[in-house]
Symmetry: C2
Subunit: 429 residues, 2 copies
């Protein structure tokens, strides 16, 4: 049967770009992590117990009970656009309803903007480590990638961006995550934001700013996103997935009004540019509920979980591991000692310790392998207790891995994963 399938598959001519398709690590994880006995720190999932299910249920009932056309085609929700203008003001961004474009989530935002901006074999400027979902978006275009590094404290290397642009390159766009970078957890410094927006303006190269996590900050209200620094060259992508619920598949783009008619055509071709039941439900939710309270609750709980993870890392991880403490978002990026291959470690972790994370390698663009000893950990999904247990299990896996290495290569004595490493030794900036 498998043979038949394979033979048959070879007969169907798929588009050329599909030859490079491999099932994404992220998607594999989605299935791995659904086994109940595995503690998954892998995916960027929200905490399910914090979903405002009752409030959403009331909102859905309100929509269906009061509007005969609630399941009908119709223009994207004007009410929701208005509410999003208010949300953006909280992020320090001034915009108006005619600059809001509703999407089926941040991923669709990226997909539609890429369709609008990128030619086949076009050029994109992106960080060396970046969100895999974005990499999937551009893959069918078989693009030419220009990459820049990311500083672990101040974010994207904006000087490198300038060097690329000043040398004459004109990418179709720059992809940036200014807050709660996925996977690195870092936020772009205020100075770099201003400079990056300036470069976009000066060189007429738009920035796609992916702000899926920007509302989840744990310190003071952060610097406004790049869109706060330029309203013509920054196309901002927002999402309700992390602040309300991913299954609602709703998000938005803030972009110059002049681009919206063309973007509507792109969306219409993709899935019909119509008000969805989810859009209408979210709008009704905002009308009836105190969203600020909900958001404050998310921030409070995720901050606790972040701190729990940081403390557990300090307690359990080997003393030569390094990580940052994110001010925004849901990920911690951990750099293990250079001899550890995080992909091999993951196999040990899942098989022997029943714990999952994503190896840093998965996020590298252009096959850059300098992240081979890194891993991305999520702290939003699991309860504090499971986070502690998960970190302990990964530490155990590291111990097993090193033990295996020492047996194989006879390089080092076995060492305890729960050793006495003190937090002071680590880079926690």
């Amino acid at each position: 049967m498998l043979n038949t399938c394979t033979q048959w598959m070879e007969e169907v001519l798929l588009a050329n770009w599909t030859r490079s398709i491999k099932r994404s690590e992220l998607q594999e994880m989605l299935y791995e992590a659904s086994t109940p006995d595995i503690i998954s720190l892998a995916l960027g999932l929200p905490a399910p117990e914090l979903f405002p299910r009752e409030a959403v249920s009331r909102a859905a009932a309100h929509v269906l009970g009061n509007d005969e056309r609630s399941l009908q085609y119709g223009p994207p929700s004007q009410l929701l656009k208005k509410q999003i203008v208010g949300l953006m003001a909280q992020r320090g961004v001034t915009c108006h309803e005619d600059q809001i474009f509703l999407t089926a989530g941040a991923q669709q935002g990226m997909s539609l903007l890429t369709r609008l901006l990128l030619n086949p074999q076009g050029t994109v400027l992106v960080e060396e480590k970046s969100y895999t979902g974005f990499q999937q978006v551009i893959e069918p275009y078989q693009p030419n990638l220009l990459t820049v590094g990311t500083d672990s404290e101040t974010g994207m290397d904006v000087s490198a961006v300038e060097a690329i642009l000043s040398s004459g390159s004109r990418p179709a766009f720059i992809y940036a995550m200014s807050d709660g970078h996925n996977p690195l957890g870092v936020s772009l410094s205020a100075q770099k934001r201003a400079r990056l927006a300036e470069l976009a303006r000066a060189y007429r190269v738009p920035i796609i700013e992916d702000d899926a996590y920007g509302f989840l900050y744990y310190g003071d209200r952060p610097t406004p996103p790049l869109r706060g620094f330029d309203d013509q060259w920054v196309y901002y992508i927002g999402s309700f997935s992390k602040i309300l619920g991913p299954a609602l598949r709703s998000g938005w783009i803030v972009l110059p009004e002049a681009l919206i008619p063309k973007l509507s055509i792109v969306k219409e071709a993709s899935d019909i540019d119509t008000a969805t039941f989810a859009q209408r439900t979210i709008a009704a939710y905002f009308e009836a509920e105190n969203f600020e309270d909900h958001l404050a609750g998310l921030r409070r709980e995720y901050k606790t979980r972040r701190n729990t993870m940081v403390n557990a890392l300090s307690d359990k991880f080997p003393s030569d591991a390094r990580w940052g403490i994110p001010e925004t978002g849901v990920f911690i990026w951990v750099e293990l000692p250079a001899e550890i291959d995080a992909t091999a470690l993951l196999k040990v972790a899942i098989k022997k310790e029943r714990v999952a994370f994503i190896p840093g390698q998965s996020f590298t663009v252009n096959g850059d392998s300098r992240a081979g000893n890194c891993l991305r950990l999520n702290f939003s999904h699991c309860s504090p207790g499971l986070i502690e247990a998960g970190i302990e299990r990964i530490a155990e896996a590291i111990g097993r891995y090193r033990n295996g290495l020492s047996f194989g290569a006879n390089r080092m004595p076995r060492q305890s994963a729960s050793g006495d490493a003190s937090p002071e030794k680590r880079d926690q900036a």
Copy 2:
């Protein structure tokens, strides 16, 4: 301000294909038709009063009340896939759950399959008159289009398909609507279905079968769709938009299991391949409700509306107009006398008579202008009373138009739109 916008727009480099973007007639209509005083026979909208709103509300409340993960990411709903296998059996198609791929509606089904199959500047085989939404899907690929005609009684010209394939052309796929063709209203004859499936098999060219309307039939249960004639070369697209509600944005594809992993990657890049709240709600709806009864109610009411429209056309339209009576779907295609330009007529109709339809020209591929005197009328959206009034208004507009012509060109005397034409004179096959 407008000048500034225009100047600015010229500075942003959009993808090359976007130069050919024009706002679609269909989308313009969506906005036109939302003015309450216009009777719109334009769009393929379901009747809002037939939406099972209470049942959907119960289903949504059930999902949100009983499942903590109801708003979470998760694999596409396995329960819904199982229910779709049952639905497909009603269409005379045998398939299994592993061949079902869930989408955000038929439009997304087309968009994803095209991404999977079509190279930039690739070749597609399509009818000369076809669904505009499909034309929008392929436009970014700037494809080479091979076209065939459509017989008003038996559907797509399958001999012409054979001629194209036997001459050596190998399109990436054939796009076909075997039941309730949009815009022509025709269904493919059983003989042609068998032959077309045979050709796909013989020449190894897949068919994308768009079956958005196939469940809405008004006579005996129709011949199975093309997917019933071949399970390897026909990729079937279904939708809940016309049988439950468009705002749910849910549909499915039936295709060979071997293609699903690649299609999952394509969807993940597009909008994350996850179970949506709508998918879960529909699955709960199917568990709790009698969908067969709902569907029977839709068929009964839409049949009444179709008959109302046909009778009104017979009563009110000029004697030299022609139309078919569709056995499936929601559209009637009308051919007016050759001297009438339906696009010009639409302007008169909207402005003077407050009634809307879609000019046939909008559906032509490759700029074919042989549909200039045709129009597409929808009979699912308006009540029978409004359908009668709408047809009378269009007839009045035709009178005005001819009157205008006669004044302008002095070719003919003014004639009444509600003349004595008898139904016997018309082609109603």
